[in-house]
């Protein structure tokens, strides 16, 4: 059973998914950050593969991506770092990223390495649904990788249903139409969250974008199975240096305690 399914079989409320950029703040912090997230009580880890031109991201995640690349991060190096991560980390892990580095590595090669190290799913926001179904789905399934689709407040109901049908593991509901880290008021989105609830989707729903503290996390969880925190976490660990585990712990505790 895929670890994402296991998670949602056991926990249906207040699921906390945390985004971190691989190779940030230092090249070697990928694993320590993941381990700290696990000890601190996160439920899911979304690991960002740094890219030079992250179109869907705001300045904070852009900068973390740029820093990670400066640190020497590459996709090949990420798989080296992840080689034995399953000996210490049991949480489901999703790789999130832009398509170009994956195309250069070769889609099948990438998937094979994901499966070999124990990655459970992928978030690839630029991959069009028809192309996924035609050219990628069979490969992803062969390697047991779940592809998680995004929906936004502007997504039509018909498309929402299609994306829910195609998505595996959960559905990623973007709270407002924005790049990551934009401080839009979530209060305005309750109608959208209610609409999602009323649709009785096949997948669990996690809300992301704009979740930055206990208040926003709690609000999001009222309408969904849980939420995703990215920008606020990146900000918190950017200057953590030696105090990384303690910083991660106090950040996560501040959300879920």
């Amino acid at each position: 059973m895929n670890r994402i399914d296991q998670l949602f079989a056991q926990k249906k409320q207040n699921v906390l998914n945390v985004y971190c950029t691989a190779g940030f703040p230092t090249l070697e912090s990928t694993l320590p950050v993941m381990q700290a997230l696990q000890s601190a009580g996160a439920d899911l880890i979304e690991l960002g593969m740094p890219f030079s031109d992250p179109l869907a991201d705001g300045p904070v995640i852009q900068d973390s991506s740029t820093q990670a690349l400066k640190n020497g991060m590459t996709l090949a190096r990420l798989f080296e770092q992840l080689k034995d991560f399953r000996s210490s980390i049991q949480l489901p892990v999703i790789l999130m990223g832009y398509l170009n580095p994956i195309l250069q590595m070769g889609v099948e090669n990438f998937c094979r390495q994901c499966a070999a190290v124990g990655v459970d799913g992928l978030i690839l926001p630029e991959l069009p649904l028809p192309e996924y179904e035609k050219e990628y789905q069979a490969i992803f399934e062969k390697y047991g990788l779940y592809l998680i689709f995004l929906v936004t407040p502007e997504t039509s109901e018909a498309r929402l249903r299609r994306l829910d049908a195609a998505s595996k593991g959960f559905l990623y509901a973007v709270s407002s139409s924005s790049t990551t880290g934009k401080d839009k008021d979530m209060g305005d989105q309750t109608a959208y969250f209610r609409k999602l609830q009323a649709l009785h989707l096949k997948n669990p729903v996690l809300i992301g974008f704009g979740i930055k503290d206990k208040g926003t996390f709690t609000t999001a969880c009222t309408y969904s199975n849980g939420a995703i925190i990215g920008t606020a976490f990146i900000k918190a660990i950017a200057n953590a240096n030696d105090a990384l585990p303690a910083t991660v712990k106090s950040f996560i505790q501040g959300i879920i305690a």
């Binding site: 031109d53 179109l55 170009n100 502007e154 924005s178």
Partner: protein, 403 residues
Amino acid sequence: MKIAENTFNSPYQADKNGFYGRFGGAYIPEMLYPNVEELQLKYKEILADPSFQEEFQQLLTDYVGRPSPLYLAKRLSEKYGGHIYLKREDLNHTGAHKINNTVGQILLAKRLGKKRIIAETGAGQHGVATATVCALMNMECVVYMGSVDIKRQAPNVARMKMLGATVVPATSGSETLKDATNEAIRDWINNPVNTHYILGTAAGPHPYPDMVARFQSVISEEIRKQLLEKTGKEIPDYVVACIGGGSNAAGAFYHFLDEPSVRLIAVEAAGHGNDSGESAASTVLGKVGLIHGAKTLLMQTDDGQITEPYSISAGLDYPGIGPMHAHLFESGRGTFLSATDNEALAAAFELTRLEGIIPALESSHAVAKLKDLALRPEEVVVVCLSGRGDKDMEAYIRNLDKF
């Protein structure tokens, strides 16, 4: 004149999903999907609407000043052989071909009910052309421009400001056209309902490459008519155009794509040379990849990170090319050459002294390759002179002693 009616019969045109061979498509995050889908569903219908066509043609005639002249450059022809014609897009209102597309897209934006316009710009010509049509139509206008380009194209920045646009510096990456485009796309993600993105080149997600090519196709439509009048034959031997993203080349090639006797010459910017590490020649240095929502030829590392291009010309300083051009390259239909900074500068000074025409640095790259064509006396060449050089005077004055 009318906008090209595309029946998808040509192997060099976009198919219904926006693919040119294996290039093109729309690789965009879900946040952009409704905007892009709306364009995909409506652009052809709107373009084909008689009231749209009437308004578009009238503005091209009375406001842009079309048709632009096709000028037989006699002294240039004496030097390089053949009959060299210049398609004078530099004489358009605002000084470049970019206005053809912005007039079309602003009319489209109005019909889509959009209230706010965003654009990216490299040399500033597309930014000026966008700010111009926004002033004309009383629309809010925000132009993203790399910080490096803001410095090197100062006259155009001033023009945009006078036209009422907000110019926002893009400070990431190499702070040039690619980065300005990233910021424009991010703006669109954040403003999905009221905003139309007037993309300035034949790149980006479907339908932009096809839509921009159609708006620019007036260039080759006029060339055919004008050649017929002047030479009795509407088909030249060569069409030469510079290419960054590739909008003037797309327009200049459009009505010759299915005329196999016409050699289509695209000239990329080679910066300090294609071996120097400082170049923008995507067909020489690129591999298949994704940039700004399209699959195309892209300069990148082995790890798939997009590399920073370089060219003296802000309009050609882009690490990819439009998908139509990637297909022309791969299929062999187009011939791709590249000109260095110095070749372009030399060509600019030569054209100025032989013909009294100061070209834009971008267009100078096209002129620079006349020397490589080994023209026979009877051959007819059309060079798309995409823009005028006013904006580049600082670079020209700096190099006055060298040429």
